[in-house]
Amino acid sequence: MRDILARFRGALFTALCRLFRKNIRIGKGLRLYRRWRLYGKGPIRIGDNCRVDGILGDTRQYTCIDTGAPSASVDIGDNARLYAAKIWSQFSIRMGNDVFIEESSIVDTDFHSIDRQRTTPDPHETLDKNRIVIGDRVCIGSRSIVTKRVTIGDDAMVAPGSIVARSVPAGCVVGGNPAKIIEPDA
């Protein structure tokens, strides 16, 4: 019953996006188990069979995909599973297929520069520097943070509660602050 409702909600959302929000393109078979928020005017592209859900036992957190500028883009591949993921893009965030994200935030900007005026946006931030690329079949655990300029390789896994400040090679498990390799995956 829950699955049918989620599928219905997803289909409704996709249809409404096609009518009113042209910057959002969602593939087939979206399932909406909890509410989500898509904010901003930048292009958001989401592949087929996306599943949007919340964390069990936590009623307040939900999935947010926000774009801070019209040029900012979010690109998510097929079979994505987003459990209360928070994504803010000022430049570009790209994810592969089969990503699995839980209750963690992925932000590719610092929002303000570090000088006294706190100008926003920071003139030193550019698309090439701040781009976040996440590979196929990446798992990101709960309460972890992915900062700007990070590339996470295929099959990598981020342990819960870790802060990923540097790029992660493919196929390993990272954790901690800053995230270090806990065990290279076989």
Binding site: L56, G57, Y83, R137, R143, A159, G161, G176
Partner: protein, 211 residues
């Protein structure tokens, strides 16, 4: 009345500080309401009396949960206590006289907390991912492993215990530290994320007069 002012009994304490007494009474009543509610609607959840609930308690899932005598749930940054069991054979057991505030437990095998534990806004999770079975990756995500915390453990704010960690008696997990499947002895201060450094608290206490 003078007699009441002097005595150290509960009645005397309540007479001297009626505000706190009212708060404690309210928490006890709320705890009793939680006990009644969970014992009526789910047989697998057992909470012993007295249970002081100053904040919201959320217990969910198909597994068994048992909370010992005299526990209290305080208000912290997030809500009060949240315990989520993700499998039928999951077991969460919390010892006696624990002070729990903002603690989140997500369990799919077993999580054991000893007596007299103190917990702030922290996370105890026995698998890498919460919805691991829905990922469809098979064995690629490491399987969850049980977590054991000893007696009198203090979990500071934003600390975390993840997958297969065993922590001895009287340990202190400092603020923001995360442990990933490590074994820690008795009476240690755990620091860092991922926590590699532990320091015996006896040595720290010996340094207390000098520093």
């Amino acid at each position: 009345m003078r007699f009441l002012r002097r005595t150290g009994s509960l009645v005397g304490k309540a007479y001297r500080d009626p505000k706190t007494a009212f708060r404690v009474g309210k928490a006890l009543l709320r705890g009793a309401w939680y006990i009644a509610r969970y014992s009526l609607f789910s047989r697998r959840i057992k909470i012993s009396f007295p249970f002081k609930a100053y904040a919201r308690v959320t217990l969910k899932g198909p597994g068994t949960i048992s909370i010992g005598k005299g526990c209290s749930v305080y208000w912290n940054v997030f809500d009060g206590l949240t315990v989520v069991t993700l499998a039928d054979d999951a077991r969460v057991s919390i010892g006696e006289r624990c002070g729990l505030g903002g603690l989140t437990i997500r369990c799919s095998t077993s999580v054991t907390l000893g007596d007299n534990c103190l917990a702030a806004n922290s996370l105890v999770q026995d698998g890498f991912m919460v919805n691991q079975n829905q990922a469809g990756y098979g064995d690629r995500i490491p399987a969850p492993q049980p977590i054991v915390l000893g007696n009198n453990v203090w979990l500071c704010g934003q600390s975390g215990v993840v997958r297969g960690s065993r922590i001895g008696d009287d340990c202190v997990l400092s603020r923001g530290s995360m442990t990933f499947g490590s074994e820690i002895g008795k009476f240690q201060l755990v620091m860092g994320s991922p926590s590699g450094v532990t320091m015996p608290i006896e040595r720290l206490l010996a340094l207390k007069g000098i520093l």
